[in-house]
Symmetry: C2
Subunit: 142 residues, 2 copies
C-alpha cells in the first residue's frame, strides 16, 4: 500500500469514526447516555463494582475525568459510591437498582440507536465491524 493510499484510507476511516461519534453524541443529547457513560455502566454490570481509578484506567482517562462521569451517573441515580471495606481511600462504584434495571430492561427493550443500527447489518458486516473493533482497541492501547 503506497504512503498516499494509506494516508487517504486512514483519513477516510477517521472521517467515518468522526461521523459515528457525532451521531452517537446527538443521540445521547436527546435521551440516551453518552459513549463513556454507557461503557462504564456496561463494565460495572459485567465485572461488578470498581473504583474510579480502575474505571479511569479501563477507559484511558484521567481519574478526575472519570470522577466527573461517575458524578453524572450518580446524579441520575444509576450508580452509587460505597466506601471500600478495608481501604479507606477507595470508593467502590456500584450499579443501583435503577442502573441494573436500565441495563437489563431498557436496553433489552428500547435499545440504543447504535445497537439497533448494527442489528440491521448482515452477519458478515457485523463480523467485520466487531473484528475491526478489536483492531481499533489494540491501536488505541498501543
Amino acid at each position: 500500500m503506497s504512503p498516499e493510499t494509506l494516508e487517504s484510507a486512514t483519513s477516510e476511516f477517521i472521517h467515518a469514526v468522526g461521523l459515528l461519534v457525532r451521531r452517537v453524541r446527538s443521540a445521547a443529547a436527546s435521551q440516551e447516555l453518552s459513549m463513556t457513560e454507557s461503557t462504564v455502566l456496561a463494565r460495572l454490570d459485567k465485572n461488578g463494582p470498581a473504583t474510579i481509578a480502575d474505571l479511569a484506567r479501563a477507559e484511558g482517562m484521567k481519574p478526575q475525568s472519570m470522577g466527573a462521569t461517575i458524578s453524572a451517573l450518580e446524579e441520575i441515580g444509576l450508580v452509587e459510591r460505597k466506601p471500600h471495606p478495608t481501604d479507606g481511600r477507595q470508593m467502590n462504584i456500584e450499579l443501583t437498582a435503577s442502573g441494573l434495571a436500565l441495563r437489563k430492561a431498557t436496553y433489552a427493550a428500547k435499545r440504543s440507536w447504535l445497537t439497533q443500527a448494527i442489528a440491521q447489518l448482515d452477519a458478515s458486516e457485523r463480523e467485520t465491524l466487531f473484528k475491526a473493533g478489536d483492531i481499533v482497541r489494540r491501536l488505541a492501547e498501543q
Copy 2:
C-alpha cells in the same frame, strides 16, 4: 446473534472507538490537528475549495461549528476565506500554500500517529479496518 450478545459486542465496539478517539485527541493536543481539522484539510486537498455549509454537511456538523473549525485552521494559516465570485453570501474555503505543504510534505514525512499505527498492521487487518470504516460511515449517515 442473541440480543444480549449483540448489545455486549456493540458495547465493546463503541468502547474501542472511544479509546481511539481519546487517543487521537491527546495526539492532537500535543502537536497534531484534531480529527475534524485533518478531515477538513484532506477534503479540501482532494476536492478543492468548498463553502462552510458544504463542509458542515460533509462532516455532519452545524455550519456554526464548522465555522469555528475553519477559524482555527485560518488562524494557524492552513486555510483562507475567499469571497465566492458570483454568490455574495458564500465564502470559499481554500488551502493556503502552508496548508497544501502540510498535506504534501509533512504528512508524507512525519505522518500522524494513527497513520503510523495503521501502517504497522498486517494487510488483512488493514483491509478489515477500512471495510469497517465504510460500514461505520453507512451507519452514521443512515
